[in-house]
């Protein structure tokens, strides 16, 4: 009952004209970004984040979240029409979606993707709404040792699934921790790693690193080649985009499978929507009466991964909003957004900012409906975006990135740092260093160091406090166990295979 009352309050917030407008802008931009291969939601949110500083936090968050889940919808369009995933989570959609398109069923495939995304996206929000409040209440009992252990657990999960080489993922995370430590120490006022530059005393702004590593690194990497793809024809008219009754019937289990698997995987830090879509596809194939047809253009092969991909968003927001622990690069950027607005996601978030939490939840219901309405009739319009040439798009991304950074601090020094992090992002891609652990290390670094130092203050310097408390001990053991898992060859083979398939 309490949940329903809160949701009603949230709907009141979401239906405010300004919030509705920015929700629409967010889901629209998200869809556009999802359609464009090579520009992900993390990069887009990072670039647009500085422009939201003048908005009320609830409105800004509604828009940024709209970009996040809107991109999941858009990602399927290129997967189906071009056999090129708009974002990594749409890789699996290529398998059957593109085959359906080749058989002249592009409209049905796009329609199934949109319907599945809507169903699963709504289930994901429902899960977020029901799971977040009790989890937040439970987390109220956490103290510094538990927080340190929780962050260590989150980081180890991200590291485990971020890249083929565990050592490189750990190194990327350590670089993130180092970057987080630059500036004045929170406890002692000592300046650390500032190279004698006054500009570095406040530390390196997260926005600079996020835009540099995600947006510029991605664009610079894309500049290596000039690829030309063949776009399959997009059927016009709503009727041609609606799947048949038989196709919908075949997808009924896939809708459910994708929704549940996506949400559960989303709650776990590190796994992310790509793994959710792969697992959901695998489950769908395993229980299917005709598994041999998967990969030849079956509608369930589109519905399951697309559903998982979208439901994951709701799941990923659970640890972010209730524990303050992001599980991916995109949610790490959302966490940074909260911090920039002076908010601290965690157990008290729902209690202290009910308008923001319930407004966001309600806006996600509204946003999912907007996306369904947008995606079904406007798919041919969105597909036109694919005709936009790289030489016209990339300078715009460079420009927005530069403005994004300059608008935060008004400092040309920060613009120079942006160039440095752009190069770092590109080199990391070339050398197979995953960027998510770096970003998470940077976002969690300060909080992790504070939690560790506060824990040791509580215990007069004894590390035993971390293992003498049941919750922190359990989480630390889990973190160590996770990092030890690749030592088992069978598991490591599965891990590497999953990461390789994720592209």
């Amino acid at each position: 009952m309490e949940v329903l009352t809160s949701l009603m309050h949230g709907l009141g917030v979401a239906f405010q004209p300004g919030n509705l407008l920015w929700c629409f802008v967010g889901v629209f931009l998200g869809t556009v970004v999802g359609v464009m291969p090579g520009l992900g939601p993390a990069a887009t949110i990072a670039m647009l984040l500085p422009l939201t500083f003048q908005m009320p936090p609830t409105t800004a968050l509604i828009m940024l979240a709209g970009i996040y889940y809107g991109a999941k919808y858009g990602g399927s369009t290129t997967a189906i029409l071009l056999n090129v995933p708009g974002e990594s989570a749409s890789v699996v959609t290529c398998l059957d979606g593109y085959q359906m398109a080749r058989k002249g069923r592009a409209g049905a495939a796009l329609g199934i993707a949109a319907i599945s995304s809507f169903v699963a996206g709504t289930v994901g929000v429902l899960g977020l709404m029901l799971l977040a409040p009790p989890l937040a209440k439970f987390a109220l009992s956490f103290s510094s040792p538990e927080y340190f252990a929780l962050m260590a657990l989150g980081l180890s999960m991200v590291v485990l699934l971020a890249g083929e080489s565990l050592v490189k993922a750990l190194l990327a995370m350590l670089v993130g921790l180092w970057l987080a430590g630059i500036g004045i120490d929170l406890f002692s006022d000592d300046s650390r790693f500032t190279f004698g530059m006054s500009e570095m005393l406040d530390g390196i702004d997260f926005v600079i690193v996020a835009i540099g590593v995600f947006a510029l690194g991605e664009v610079i990497g894309n500049m290596e080649k000039r690829g030309e793809s063949t776009l399959l024809p997009v059927p016009k008219g709503l009727r041609n985009l609606l799947p048949t009754w038989q196709e919908l019937k075949a997808c009924r289990f896939a809708f459910l499978n994708g929704s549940i698997i996506g949400f559960v995987i989303g709650v776990l830090p590190g796994a992310g929507s790509t793994i959710a879509s792969f697992i959901s596809y695998g489950v769908e194939k395993a229980v299917s009466k005709h598994p041999e047809k998967f990969g030849t253009g079956v509608p369930e092969g589109v519905a399951a991964p697309e559903g998982a991909n979208n439901s994951e968003t709701g799941g990923a927001l659970v640890p972010l909003l209730t524990l303050g622990i992001p599980g991916s690069g995109t949610t790490a950027i959302l966490l940074a957004a909260f911090v920039l607005w002076g908010l601290r996601p965690g157990p008290l978030m729902i209690q202290d900012n009910p308008e923001l939490f319930w407004g966001l939840v309600a806006s996600m219901y509204v946003g999912n409906i907007m996306l369904l309405v947008l995606n079904l009739p406007l798919i041919p319009v969105f597909a036109q975006i694919l005709k936009l040439r790289e030489y016209a798009l990339y300078p715009v991304i460079f420009g927005i990135s530069l403005i994004g950074v300059y608008s935060v601090s008004g400092s040309l020094f920060d613009c120079g740092l942006l160039a440095v992090f752009g190069l770092l992002g590109y080199l990391m891609r070339k050398l197979d260093y995953p960027s998510a652990p770096l970003i998470l290390g940077l976002v969690l670094g300060d909080a992790m160091e504070s939690a560790l130092r506060q824990s040791l203050m509580m215990s007069q310097g004894s590390l035993s406090i971390l293992v003498s408390r049941p919750m922190s001990a359990t989480m630390l053991v889990l973190a160590v166990a996770l990092l030890a898992l690749p030592l088992f060859r069978k598991f490591n083979r599965w891990r590497v295979q999953a990461i390789e398939e994720n592209g």
Binding site: L51, S165, V167, K168, L170, L171, L174, V175, L177, W178, G181, D185, F187, S188, D190, R192, F193, L216, I220, G221, M223, E224, K225, R226, R389, E390, Y391, A392, Y394, P395, V396, F398, G399, L402, I403, Y406, S407, G410, L412, C415, G416, L418, A419, G422, L423, Y426, L427, K430, L431, D432, Y433, E449, L452, R453, Q454, L456, M457, Q460, G461
Partner: protein, 156 residues
């Protein structure tokens, strides 16, 4: 040359990260490790500095011991890498020019470079896009959203 290049990349990046670890460790020595209240500012960096050195040396060692594989067709595309680095360099130059010629001119020059220099399109198209981009950014960001853009001596 894919495997051999990976080998080189791992060794070089591992060595660079080991050097960073040594730097972190060296800096951390200057700050108190423990104070009366608890861990000092040198505590955390010391531990991640050590971890960085160990892991990066492990990376260098394992890459060095790995037998370089056979040449793989379509390995590192050095031409592509060159293109990417050239674009990065152009971006860095345009950042350097911000102070002298302002955002709009610098951005327009970068656009021309990418369109004409990197994609081989005509000067007419390059200059046209540069003008459209610069004007659009000016209208959208400076006029509509009141976002400050770095200005040059000419005031824009």
């Amino acid at each position: 040359m894919a495997k051999a290049s990976r080998w080189n990349g791992d060794v070089i990046s591992g060595a660079a990260l080991a050097a960073l670890g040594v730097f972190i460790l060296n800096e951390a020595r200057h700050w108190p490790y423990m104070t009366e209240e608890g861990p000092g500012p040198g505590f955390f960096p010391l531990w991640y500095g050590v971890a960085m050195i160990v892991l990066s040396l492990w990376l260098v060692l394992s890459a060095s011991l790995r037998t370089p594989g056979k040449t793989v067709a379509g390995g590192v595309n050095w031409k592509g890498v060159g293109r990417a680095l050239l674009v990065w360099f152009a971006f860095a130059v345009s950042v350097g020019l911000l102070k002298w010629i302002g955002f709009l001119l610098s951005f327009a020059l970068l656009t021309v470079f990418i369109v004409v220099g990197m994609y081989g399109k005509s000067w007419r198209l390059g200059i046209g896009l540069a003008v459209v981009n610069a004007l659009s950014f000016h209208v959208l960001f400076r006029m509509a959203l009141s976002v400050d853009l770095p200005a040059g001596p000419l005031g824009f």
